[in-house]
Subunit: 310 residues, 2 copies
Amino acid sequence: MEEMPRPDLPQLLVIKPPGLFNYGDPFAAKFAVLRAWESPLPLPRFLSDHARSAPALLCSAATRVTAAVLDLLPSLRIIVTTSAGLNHIDLPECRRRGVAVANAGEVFSDDVADAAVGLALAVLRKVSAADRFVRRGRWAEEGDFALGSKLAGKRVGIVGLGSIGLRVAKRLEAFGCPISYNSRTKKPSVSYPFYANVYELTANSDILIICCALTEQTHHMIDKSILLALGKDGILINVGRGAIIDEKELVQSLMQGDIRGAGLDVFENEPNVPKELLSLDNVILSPHGSVIGPGRVDHGAIPLNGLVAF
Amino acid sequence: MEEMPRPDLPQLLVIKPPGLFNYGDPFAAKFAVLRAWESPLPLPRFLSDHARSAPALLCSAATRVTAAVLDLLPSLRIIVTTSAGLNHIDLPECRRRGVAVANAGEVFSDDVADAAVGLALAVLRKVSAADRFVRRGRWAEEGDFALGSKLAGKRVGIVGLGSIGLRVAKRLEAFGCPISYNSRTKKPSVSYPFYANVYELTANSDILIICCALTEQTHHMIDKSILLALGKDGILINVGRGAIIDEKELVQSLMQGDIRGAGLDVFENEPNVPKELLSLDNVILSPHGSVIGPGRVDHGAIPLNGLVAF
């Protein structure tokens, strides 16, 4: 059942609980939290019955904030998303209605960059397949596992050299990887080679790492031609958003060996993953887990300073 | 059947095929290779019947070269091991008999350092457990996977600051990890804090990475007291040799949650892995695969210059 709002506190609408709610409700003392996911009502009914006066919405990347949702929230003044990406929020509609939008900024950038490097190492060295090989007793029965591939010297192409891409570059330089990048504009502050288009970058890379935002321009930017340019020894890492890649073409490429492997933290239709990938050894599947939450020992990763100051 | 040695070429004894033999026999043109593993004879019989005049032995870490083996090889002048470690060879006996020993030197150091970082990331972020979670369809059924832990800021303690340990340090500095180390002697060339004993290092580390050689002094150096000093949030990575850790105590610690997790490339009794580990989610199991072999695209990793010059 939904809680009744406490009249002495400002209302905070939460449609689906972001991951940080796994560890309790850190807002209970400061806000009257409207917990839509606990209500038996259909969402539109809940919103129109209980959230018409809510000035603030807290969401994660899993909550789509469309014009239809905004229509039901006439008092809304601010949306705070716990994600860095904003593709789940209809920004032009927010702008038109004067609703402010705050995101996680760079709070997760280190973690997402770590995830990208971890996925690259895991694909090159077949970490999950090797782990399965040992767990199934095959090492003792069959002998040596297939050898992995070296990271040092691999040419890394970074798509999107923002706060995440820059951190990926810094880390992989320490592994002896030459770095190049593509982004909307050349960055005067870095000396890495710049490619004005993704195809050229890919043709000159062994490992392509997607760190950009999902926008109309980047939707399905990684298509069949890019995958073919990456080639049979190429590896694709995606810590951006699933729909930046044409997922059907990626599945084909991985099944046919048109590319060597992929490390995927994001998918087009999360939490659904193409079933063809589930049995492939040349892919590492990660459940959109690049973002590290406020676990027992990891503090400082809650990007809600803006909201707390609301 | 064993091949007959070609009298025009020097004999090279190989007891078990090193991993590089998976890709053919790169020595056939220069040596008469005595392939002991292909013979139906028991090894001592093969050695005394066919290898008494062999001057050279090529082996990997999987071949124990004991005094008993050396007794059967009176003409032996050199042993070349494709490993960096030498713990499988009775060095005092070789010295006494005037048998030279050559190892892989630093050829694999980058790869092993990459493996250490990859295992640390994989343990912190539960890469294999997350991959299993997705493959079993649990993401769609059960929702968010348990959050991982941050790498940035974790205090890393390196045991053994040789060519591998130094490379691990360089990589993890780029992730924002403060580095300390223990080794036989303080290294004047580095500024990382030095701890003269492993216990003190461990008590001041969140991640302990074993990069040292297995010797009488390091055998079971990581015992129960060290594991307790590492503590409930601590992570242990081993890319050295299995017997540096008291494996029974490690299994207990992982099962009881005395430490948070482990990434293990090496084990005490390879290829046998303690069966208790096979069902644990807080461990990444790797089949002594840190060393990258001469696969299709990875050249330069064959440490046999010394032998080819023989």
